[in-house]
């Protein structure tokens, strides 16, 4: 047991206690949390900073606005309605078209205007928000998933989680929906996490329910070796989020849109630790490296360049393998 702990420490695996004490507690001031918990505030911040994200069509903040929903929606045929404080994908309504006075949901069912209004009223009353406080409903652009991950995901929209520390992208992971996760890209719900080499943007092995796998459990296709297009620009996008929120340690969720490229979907102030399993390497060496070179990291470009020169996936695996050998 102690040997295992020593091995893990040697390869720099980050545990929950250390993440809380030395990273989230130290680098994420509590007052900044509302910036990421409320998706509307995140969006407004990002829009002001010129960061790419799904376009906001409209916001419903009060019950009386629900009556005018038809005018707000105007000519949009294709959109998503989601709660600003929702979590785990609850309360998200996806509309993919219209038929006369009706709206077509993504699963093909038609709903009437009143049903749509009712859903928005529910969101406003706080049904989907965690604390149950009154919420806002966001109407935004519906993401057209890039075909890149089509062969290795089961329904839903896959996204890419990047851990950003002091503005430096440390580690990346594609989160692929499975049948068990019900189309949602959340690892707790059974989605597949595939590590991504931060230097090349190529997928590595995957973690599924704490086990390392190389194939998608539903489609059976191998998940390794998929190259994410525009990887450098995706990393820049993630790195920009540091200035956006001021959170030192955050998880940035990015989706790849067919037409618009990488878009910020959501920010997370307490990202999980499974990304280490997907990348088969610990976060600590990279965190330490960033802390040591803190003064030299200037500008988004500089930080991304730093990440791409120092965090080669294969490099630290082989180095660690040698190290482990000595320990055992």
């Amino acid at each position: 047991m102690f040997a295992l702990a020593r091995q893990l420490a040697h390869m720099g695996a980050l545990g929950l206690n250390r993440r809380n004490a030395e990273y989230t507690l130290r680098y994420n001031p509590r007052r900044l949390y509302p910036l990421v918990d409320d998706k509307l505030r995140t969006k407004q911040l990002a829009q002001r900073a010129g960061i790419a994200l799904p376009e906001l069509y409209g916001v419903v903040e009060a019950e009386h606005q629900v009556r005018n929903l038809r005018d707000v929606l105007g000519q949009y045929r294709d959109f998503v309605i989601k709660p600003a404080r929702g979590s785990g994908g609850d309360g998200i309504l996806i509309i993919s078209g219209r038929l006369r006075q009706m709206y077509r949901k993504i699963n093909g069912l038609l709903i009437r205007q009143e049903e749509l209004n009712h859903h928005v009223s529910n969101i406003l009353s706080g049904i989907y928000s965690l604390g149950g406080q009154p919420d806002k409903a966001l109407i935004e652009y519906r993401i057209q998933a890039h075909p890149l991950f089509d062969a290795i995901s089961y329904q839903g929209v896959p996204d890419i989680r990047v851990i950003v520390f002091l503005g430096v992208p440390l580690m990346g992971m594609a989160r692929l929906p499975t049948r068990i996760s019900g189309g949602r890209a959340n690892l707790h719900q059974g989605a597949l996490g595939v590590g991504i080499d931060i230097v090349t943007g190529e997928t590595l092995t995957a973690v599924w329910r704490d086990d390392i796998v190389t194939e998608h459990p539903d489609t059976g296709n191998t998940v390794t070796g998929v190259k994410v297009p525009g990887w450098a620009s995706l990393l820049r996008l993630a790195a920009q989020c540091y200035e956006l929120t001021g959170l030192g340690y955050q998880g940035v969720d990015i989706v790849l849109d067919k037409d618009k490229g990488p878009l910020i979907l959501e920010l997370n102030a307490r990202p999980g630790l499974n990304i280490q399993l997907a990348n088969r390497s610990g976060l600590l060496p990279r965190l330490n490296m960033v802390e040591q070179n803190r003064e030299n990291l200037i500008g988004v470009e500089g930080r991304v360049a730093f990440a791409q020169t120092h965090f080669r996936a294969s490099a630290d695996i082989s180095g660690l393998a040698l190290g482990d050998f000595r320990w055992c």
Partner: protein
Amino acid sequence: MSRFHLYSLALSLTFAGLGLFFYKAFVMGFPLTPRRTSDIWNVEGRVEFVALNAPVKVSLFIPRTTRRFVIVNENFISQGYGITTTAEGGNRQAVWSVRKAEGQQSLYYQAVVRRVDTEEPRTVLRPPKIEDPGFEGPYLAAAQSLIANIRAQSADVDTMVKELIKRLNRPQPDDNAALLLGKTPSLSKKVKTAARVLAQAGISARTIHGVHLEEENRDAPLLHWLQVYEEEQWRSYDPVTGESGLPADYLPWWRGAQPLARLEGGERLNVTLSVSLKQEEAVRAAIESGRIKSPLLLEFSLFSLPVQTQAVYRILLLVPVGAFLLVISRNVIGIKTFGTFMPVLIALAFRETQLLWGIVLFTVVVALGLMVRLYFEHLKLLVVPRLASVLLVVVLLMAALSVLTHKLGLERGVSVALFPMVILTMTIERMSIVWDERGASEAFQQGLGSLIVAALAHLVMTINYVEHLAFVFPELLLVLLAGTLLLGRYYGYRLLELRRFKSLVKGTT
């Protein structure tokens, strides 16, 4: 803050705590272990009956001060009743009376009994008058024949009594004994018969009734002994074994053939006796006997508080112990629980319900509550009304469970009422949110984790020794605080994380 600062703080807390502890234990003489046998008991007699809308008179025998036991304090709890106590023939009796009463009545006699070992010489008793046992016809013949038999097989009064007891206790008593005892005789009947036979033989004998003073018994059984007057004193015999000499923890309640209580103007009379050890008195006895010095420190200790408040602190001081275990379970082992301190509160409830029943009741209430909560989910309620509704259902469930288990004769089940219902409600709420967000398996994991930690905390918190140390030496909590502070800086892996990250190591070697 630097590490040094934390370590020096922890160190000074440990020194302060341990220093005071050692001073109190070894210089002042506070007892280090809870004494199992204490000298003080609370005894209670509860008389229940249904009054018939008529004048009521109830008499109850009550204990008196003897050479071995002193009645320190007495209370009669009886609303609206007049109360008199009388002493006659070596017995004391309390008589409650009221002009008119109707319905279910409960009267209480409570006393604090202290055991003493007086060195006083026994007072020489006048030989009691032998009462006519009242045997007639065939009974008289049987008694005389029995007396002739036992007299022939014994040397003195002592051996004669033992021989009589032996004969009365045979599985198949001889014809004489069988006639006197009747069919399927109770122990009390045997003792009475023995006393009457001895009276017939010209020996003063009587029955004595009392209770066994033990740690806690809510329904203490009456124990009957036979007493024989011999060599100017009463000698006691165990009615089953024939051994002589009362045990040290036998509290005589009354003597003679009369019943414990008598009732006029009512029906369905029921008397329950209960005894409980006054634990907190173990230390008090040490204080009073002057074994603990330096009264100033005592003036400002928990022992200066009223006894009821002391009882509260006895439990409250255990909460930090449970919280410490919780810190270890969560931050070092990595067990997931609902809410931060929920398991400790559940563990406190387990004190009353006992572990197994506690776990069963907790699981049943949470499972049923969860079902209702899942149904409420469909009604799309706002959070506060939803929580209030779940709370309401939880209270109803608890009441229903109490009634159900009571009807089934499972008295322990009634104690479900002791669960903190708000905690139960929040547990149900948290569990259903986790279920929604992270799936059923995660919800069950956390539920099971909470129960395991609660059970663990309960097991540790009910160790007599732990309770004693926490209450008598609260300064030890400073040491616990030091430990908790140090754990607050434990940044290493959690035990269960090792399992989770295991594939990380496998993947690279």
